[in-house]
């Protein structure tokens, strides 16, 4: 049978129409996915649930305001880790086993321990990953190539505090109070080394549990050491309120300082006037800072969804930042025709011009972390943290 050119063309078009178009349409309709493994229960449920709310809002923002990711919708997958490495690992395996590598393009986890446990799998799968942890150890592209820290490390945060101390009072006496945990110990070697370089003597080091029933012995020993500044690390406002209250009662006049997890305003509610003057590092925007475009955008989005307009915690702001920044990285990867895990990894390394509407100073990663922060000082009368410095570049 002789086939004419017209018949051949008709057959070809028909075949494309029958098989190609639906496949193309399916590919376009297929979502891209971000998995968030969050501590929705357990001792860090307060942070996990705030982050969940933020990731949901960020997903909506990427889809509705940013127009999706290269014509595809961003979809959020959520798993509870209970702040437990075993449960978190199981959740990770569940997500990885269920989702296709073409769709699941980013994973967000919940702690240093979990991140370290997952690191070999993350490297093997080539999936870009971040977490709630700002561990200095994780920001190591050589050792953990898939892990990105969306903020400064705890060592960076301490660097900011030490620089401030050095500038305000050269030779000031420093005391360290940290929890007996991986989180608490993380930046301590760096602090000791850096303080020595800056000529800031460390006159005391107190190691405590994560939660205190009495801070008197700690404060009495600090009082003997007569520090000018007390650097705290490794608590989530479970110990700081008691420390500052007890310090006030025993007449210890040092300035207390803390890092990211001490920067939530609940400190002032829990410690009252004793919290006044507490200095903390914080690298996103407070939700009461209405001059930040991201804050306006968040409240507009939430208002449109009928959500409450109240205060949003630092944990919310941090997770919203990660959500929109990952969405932006995906959009850039899609624009470059590389909406894949390696494509997003590449995009993350080139987002120098992006500041997530003022939620971060810059997305210029240095050693897989964003070494920028600001210092804030607690104003107990107003119940808020007020900016003490502009952005500090720490690397």
């Amino acid at each position: 049978m002789k086939v004419t050119r017209r018949q051949l063309l008709q057959t070809g078009i028909g075949t494309v129409a029958a098989y190609g178009v639906p496949r193309f349409a399916r590919a376009q309709a297929r979502p891209v996915k971000l998995a968030a493994l969050l501590p929705l229960t357990g001792p860090f449920a307060f942070a996990g649930n705030a982050a969940l709310d933020a990731f949901r809002d960020a997903t909506d923002y990427v889809n509705e305001v940013m127009g999706g990711v290269g014509g595809r919708k961003l979809e959020l997958i959520v798993e509870d880790t209970g702040y437990d490495v075993a449960k978190g690992t199981a959740a990770f395996n569940r997500v990885i086993g269920k989702e296709s590598p073409e769709e699941l393009l980013f994973v967000y986890g919940d702690s240093t321990g979990l991140s370290k446990a997952l690191a070999p799998e993350i490297a093997r799968l080539g999936v870009p990953y971040s977490a709630t942890s700002y561990s200095s150890e994780l920001a190591d592209p050589e050792r953990y190539p898939g892990i990105w820290v969306f903020g400064p490390t705890y060592s960076d945060m301490m660097e900011a505090l030490l620089r401030y101390i050095h500038e305000k009072k050269p030779g000031a006496r420093i005391a360290l109070v940290h929890s007996n945990s991986e989180f608490g110990r993380d930046p301590i070697p760096y602090v000791k080394q850096r303080a020595a370089q800056l000529g800031l003597p460390i006159v005391a080091e107190e190691v405590t549990p994560l939660v205190l029933s009495d801070a008197t012995p700690t404060i009495l020993k600090l009082r003997q050491a007569k520090p000018d500044f007390v650097l705290t690390q490794g608590y989530v406002l479970t110990a700081e309120p008691l420390l500052v209250k007890t310090a006030r009662e025993y007449g210890l006049n040092a300035t207390f300082m803390g890092t990211y997890y001490s920067s939530e305003v609940i400190l002032m509610k829990r410690a009252g006037p004793a919290a006044d003057g507490f200095i903390a590092t914080y690298h996103n925007a407070y939700s009461y800072d209405k001059s930040t475009p991201a804050v306006q955008a968040i409240y507009e989005l939430r208002a449109a969804k009928g959500k409450e307009p109240g205060y949003l915690t630092t944990f919310y702001m941090g997770a919203f930042f990660v959500g929109v920044a990952v969405g932006e990285a995906m959009r850039r990867a899609a624009a470059a025709g590389e909406l894949t895990r390696p494509g997003i990894t590449k995009a993350l390394g080139k987002m120098w011009d992006y500041d997530a509407m003022g939620l971060i100073h810059s997305m210029r990663f240095v050693g897989h972390r964003l070494p920028y922060t600001r210092l804030y000082r607690a104003n107990a009368g107003k119940g808020i943290y007020e900016p003490l410095t502009d952005w500090l570049e720490l690397a």
Binding site: L40, T41, G42, P43, A45, F46, G48, N49, A50, N180, E205, E206, V207, P209, L210, V211, L212, S213, D214, T216, P217, T218, L220, K221, Q224, L237, T238, A239, E240, P241, L242, K245, T246, E249, Y250, E264, I266, K269, R270, G272, T313
Partner: protein, 291 residues
């Protein structure tokens, strides 16, 4: 020397709080032989109930108001979790209390939400000084509340009719029933009282650093205290609480510089040493049933 006395003073205050937290645990064990692994969650619920009431009432009244609520929670727990297991193996009851702990953790998050909370208001700021020694308000209130409650409870158990009934039930529930003692009602009341005592402890702890799941972690101190004092000795819980509180404070003051983190383990080291010599604790009975 002031340093030592200051540590001793605040150690006693902390120890009194530990004793208060532990007494409810001991009461339940004494009356029912149940090791209540949900004691930390009882503290948590007490803290949260006080937190809720403190929105409407001054803190001292909120703490008082939390007592009947916590009592009812204790009664409910006994009815729902413990009574159905009467006659079952001790392991089953222990597993039930572990399940209860998880249930209460989840329920607290559902009812009060996961966000960080603080206790509004405060107890009157009594600051006592003795020469160079200072007794800050928290330590004062720990002592002022915990010691009278603990001593009152010991007196109540020794001298009152209800105390005698509780002791009778704890000696032998079957014999008590045979004597016409309403043992089930006594056991229910003991669970309620245990929850109420924990609520006071929870409220005092919540005043330190806010309300939240970290209270459960502080509640774990009940275990070394009760094992040290003897699982069924209310007086032992008081003595052991004071010993642990003082040991913790002194080790924090004198050993921490050489052995960072030692003060966290000191209570357990003491327990280990004492249990090696007296397996039934400092004030426990020799015929103690171990689980």
């Amino acid at each position: 020397m002031t340093f030592f006395w200051q540590l001793l003073l605040t150690g006693v205050a902390t120890g009194a709080l530990y004793a208060l937290m532990s007494m409810g645990f001991v009461l339940v064990y004494r009356a029912t032989s149940v090791v209540n692994f949900a004691i930390g969650e009882f503290l948590l619920v007490g803290g949260y109930v006080t937190f809720t009431l403190a929105h409407f009432l001054p803190l001292p009244l909120a703490m008082l108001g939390a007592l009947p609520v916590a009592f009812l929670v204790g009664v409910g727990v006994e009815r729902a979790f413990v009574r159905p297991l009467i006659g079952r193996s001790v392991v089953a009851v222990i597993m039930a209390t572990i399940g209860l702990a998880l249930t209460l953790d989840g329920a607290a998050q559902l009812v009060w939400g996961p966000d960080q909370k603080y206790l509004s208001g405060s107890l009157p700021p009594v600051l006592l000084t003795f020469g160079e020694l200072i007794l800050p308000p928290r330590a004062f209130w720990s002592l002022a509340i915990s010691l009278p409650v603990a001593l009152g409870l010991i007196y109540f158990l020794q001298k009152s009719r209800w105390g005698v009934l509780v002791r009778a039930v704890s000696e032998s529930e079957v014999a008590a029933l045979a004597m016409g003692i309403p043992a089930p009602r006594i056991v229910t009341a003991v669970w309620g009282l245990s929850a109420a005592l924990a609520a006071v402890g929870g409220a005092l702890l919540a005043g330190l650093s806010g309300v939240g799941p970290h209270l459960v972690q502080l509640g774990l101190m009940v275990f070394p205290v009760t094992i040290l004092g003897g699982l069924e000795s209310v007086g032992g819980a008081l003595a052991a609480g004071l010993i642990v509180g003082v040991a913790e404070a002194l080790s924090k003051g004198y050993l921490e510089a050489y052995l960072p983190g030692i003060s966290e383990t000191v209570p357990f080291i003491i327990v280990l040493i004492v249990v090696l010599v007296r397996p039934y604790g400092l004030f426990g009975r020799r015929d103690i049933e171990r689980v």
